[in-house]
Symmetry: C2
Subunit: 668 residues, 2 copies
Amino acid sequence: MEGKLKTDRCRTQILFLWSFLAPAVALAQTQAPAHPLDALKTQEYWTVYEVLQGTGRIDKDTYTASVLLHEPAKDKVLAWKDGDPIQREADVILLRKGHVTEARIDIAGRKLESWQERKGVQAPILESEFKDLGELVKNDPRVVDALAKRGIKDLTTVECVPLPFGYFAIPELEGHRIMYGGCADHRGAYLTWGRSIEGLLVKVDAVEKKVLDVTDEGPVPVPTSPINFQEAASIPRPGTTPLAVTQPLGPGFQLAGGEVRWQNWRFRVRLDPRVGPVINLVRFDDGTNLRSILYEGSLSELFVPYMDPAAGWATRIFIDAGEFFQGGVLRPLREVADCPANATYFDGLVPDEHGIPVLRSREACLYEFSSGAPAWRHFEKEEISSRPSRTLVLRSAAVIGNYDYLLDWRFEQDGSIHVAVGATGIIETKGVTAKKANHDHAMSGASEVSEAAPDEFGHFVAENTVGVNHDHFLSFRLDLDVDGQNNSFIAHRLKQRQLPASTHRKSIWVAEPFRARTERDAMMDIHLERPAMWVFENPNVRGPLGYATGYEIMPGHAAASLLDPEDGAQRVGAFSSHQLWVTPYRADELYAAGVYPTASKGDDGLAAWTKANRPIENTDIVAWYTLGFHHMPRAEDWPVMPVMWHEFVIRPFNFFPQNPVLTLPNAP
Amino acid sequence: MEGKLKTDRCRTQILFLWSFLAPAVALAQTQAPAHPLDALKTQEYWTVYEVLQGTGRIDKDTYTASVLLHEPAKDKVLAWKDGDPIQREADVILLRKGHVTEARIDIAGRKLESWQERKGVQAPILESEFKDLGELVKNDPRVVDALAKRGIKDLTTVECVPLPFGYFAIPELEGHRIMYGGCADHRGAYLTWGRSIEGLLVKVDAVEKKVLDVTDEGPVPVPTSPINFQEAASIPRPGTTPLAVTQPLGPGFQLAGGEVRWQNWRFRVRLDPRVGPVINLVRFDDGTNLRSILYEGSLSELFVPYMDPAAGWATRIFIDAGEFFQGGVLRPLREVADCPANATYFDGLVPDEHGIPVLRSREACLYEFSSGAPAWRHFEKEEISSRPSRTLVLRSAAVIGNYDYLLDWRFEQDGSIHVAVGATGIIETKGVTAKKANHDHAMSGASEVSEAAPDEFGHFVAENTVGVNHDHFLSFRLDLDVDGQNNSFIAHRLKQRQLPASTHRKSIWVAEPFRARTERDAMMDIHLERPAMWVFENPNVRGPLGYATGYEIMPGHAAASLLDPEDGAQRVGAFSSHQLWVTPYRADELYAAGVYPTASKGDDGLAAWTKANRPIENTDIVAWYTLGFHHMPRAEDWPVMPVMWHEFVIRPFNFFPQNPVLTLPNAP
């Protein structure tokens, strides 16, 4: 577990209860790793930095776009025992004048292991590129002219940002680092959201630091509707009384060497700059054995395509983690608001664009809560049998520009894990000349919609401000190891069966278990008329009733991409084409849209790997769940969105011999 | 609000805070109704009883199958003001020797308003029928023989129950009251679940009290696997520390004349014997106006078909509310386990089979809780803006035989209502000769499944015990009145649109709003490739941005029935064919499978009414959401199921001019 332990609870109590952890907590920046899957420590970042400097190949034009833990081989991690030496390597992406080099560093050995130049790929955007290219765009005479035409002469309040756009749109990305920029004027506001300067699209060469092209489709006034959510009044709701959650004896989980132990659960967490929280070695103590469930689980990628063909909007097809993770995707949580008063916080480390470690406070929180609902119950013959439940929540917030994604891993006592995504933050809006909607939204069909309606591609959320339609697809990589590494994927397909007349019924459904032999068999699309239950089982381990032990992935409210499969954008975000994929485990297959999504031709990532249609039976397999939702903004989403939660569930299926919460205590 | 107020909190505090309510609370059994939509009060049940007795038409063979509030006309309720006289009527279903009579009683006038004999319908099963017919079955010589053949000679521990089976299966239901009985032997256990006596199906005439037919397909040993969940040990999980939720100043909601006031929400609740909690007059105080959202919301029906063609199993196609509500569907909640320590409980009243009121404690609870998640947040420029959230939960538990359904109405501060169903209790199991599964479940297709597998229609959950596959479909009736009675239903259909090459993209999706003109237009099926957003709007009220004000129904994980539409069972549970239906408001259209589902030919209920394809534009309309899930049991569901939650969300869509939780207080 990363960094310093923070909490809102009485410090003396904690010091008493956690005194055995004190050295690790106090020396977070300089401590050595305790486990092969620990996040990179401060001194390890410095070692990487120094080894790279020592190569003599780093100059003032060289930037560090990424420093990530290179995990040791899975078998080595699984065989590792406390006290064994810990192999530590880092994978670095260097960007120099548009050219990408991958370096691997042996940290303990303090040496460069490999140095590999890569052609045809684009590193994620650097913080300094946002700043420098933004300034470049803003000061280009054509832009200054265009702004003046819009009545904007004081450029102090204008902010411009460059954004990547894929290879499919800019074939010259091959060998060049090209982006598209747009501007906003935050005059009168703290941030630029809701203040976009429309009709102005600027193409820049990020290496040559040159504006290549300025497209001006004509001025649209910058909206001025109120957007100050930061200082929104704090107004107590009528009749509100205090509601306190307290854990006077401290949390009900323990942290030992970075492992979280809560009730029967055991797992590790590291906070990764690219994908946020990575959950490792998730096991369940069934009283006799510590049984493996999930070797590794994390967000893998986000695909957020916008749905407006206008200049400056068609370009918005963000691959949010892979394009924007430099500096880390996680941002601090706010005590008492983002997590409850009984939460414990964890700091994180991220490398800056020189690879130098930066401390980030409260990048995750861990807490127990009770929803007040039972774990199970039954009433009969005047007896109520019921046991109260509680939940352990690990929460982080990935912030990618305007959007904040709360990422929850909720461990339940019954052996299930609820993975939940809470979307909040600011929607992207387009300034329009019209003040508000002027047509009747209640119509019978498309033919009655005026093509020129200012809200054709979204909804007004404020005057002159249209929230633009878009999608969110989040791919979660779930390296399930149910009772061991070799698993199979079974789709239990529910099919109608006709019955003989003697039954007085015409039909039932029967479940037909279908074991996926290869990747193509396991590309799952949700159809209500052809339902399937998705079970990952270990064919080598049988429960007492004769079934292979298993875990099920249960989707929640889901969405599939509506883009043309031949659309270049869709080829990059192709993981959104299915709600579930299953691949054989490969150490280097981590990101659903590939390592370098920006200039991708669709030749890396889930859709590319699975073209080989590899076998996935009784072998180490990885599940990829696509959590997706279409977002058609509404007035309530402005100026900041109420959190919208979506989730899926990973739950035991014939993993336990019976209900694992049967013997829960009577007290919550 | 029904009955006595109970709470776990300090009584003196409550007495102080709620002293103005004391008369209502203390005199629950005898109080007069405070509002036209209050549940029937004790003295009202007695009045109904006395009026019926006074007709001279009640004899010892007459049973009262149902006494329900007959709601006053909607316009009268909406026009009603405190102090106005309250019209009170009750609808009674009488059952006498298989014949059904409907009576309406004017309670204030203490007189019979109507007396209507009904042909071709079947009343719900009476408690005494369960008992008497069970005894009848058990003592039939053929049954005694069949039991003896199974080695069962001591009948003390044998329990038999009659169960209804539809008209489609038993055409002689027309004019007769026929049921099918089965038996179980609870020797060594408290309850009969998991102890079924298979292969024995007994047809009985419930009026003649006669066993018509005994089918014995041969003995199967009664399973003996452990099923004692009632006395399951209470074992503290390692490291557990106390976690307390306290509200020292009492709850943050108020109860005034039966209305719940919580923050900006206002609503009424009554506990109905047939459908459980009925939420009425749900309104939101936006600071200026008390705005209508939902006139009435409740569960309407449950359809639970089992998927095994065996004798005694094909007959299990339960219409859980309509067939089994005599005596009320709700059962008590257990303090601290089913609801948290800060919950307030409400008692309920149900009529027994003579119409005599019975007090039921803790039929619902109401409490606030905080999940610890924010209502909204955004991080940018080193600032975290975030506001903590809390939720108000109204919970009940409908218990229908083996299953307990937790019914939650969760009111959120952001104007949304999450309706959640937690399925728990005991699954229905079939005794089989095989001890456990003996075939490999990992197969490539149906052809490899042995037809004779003992678990062909479910999964073993214990030795000799197969949990049988089944479905749950719950229809929720939602009489949305968004800013008034006249609403329209808009399906915003998301459709792919091809783009010109100049955009560098091939496609986007656009939302095409489609206003449903008639009921058929509004039968919504969920297809991921053809998504639609379901919005109920008031075309007569515009928000400041020009849009009609609206509320959206967002489905959760959903299921559609897989039965043949021509299946008689499916015709009765036809509401399961679509995930959403919209009908014009009719006071007498309350139950999705009709008033009398048992002998239904499919001529009452949603599918029947909507055949008229009535107009639903700009008129008073009702939404019917089908919450469905397929249940393929797993070992973890035995001997009592961990709660499995499913939910859907009713949320504002351009109802508020902006985010309604923007100004939440900084403290939770």
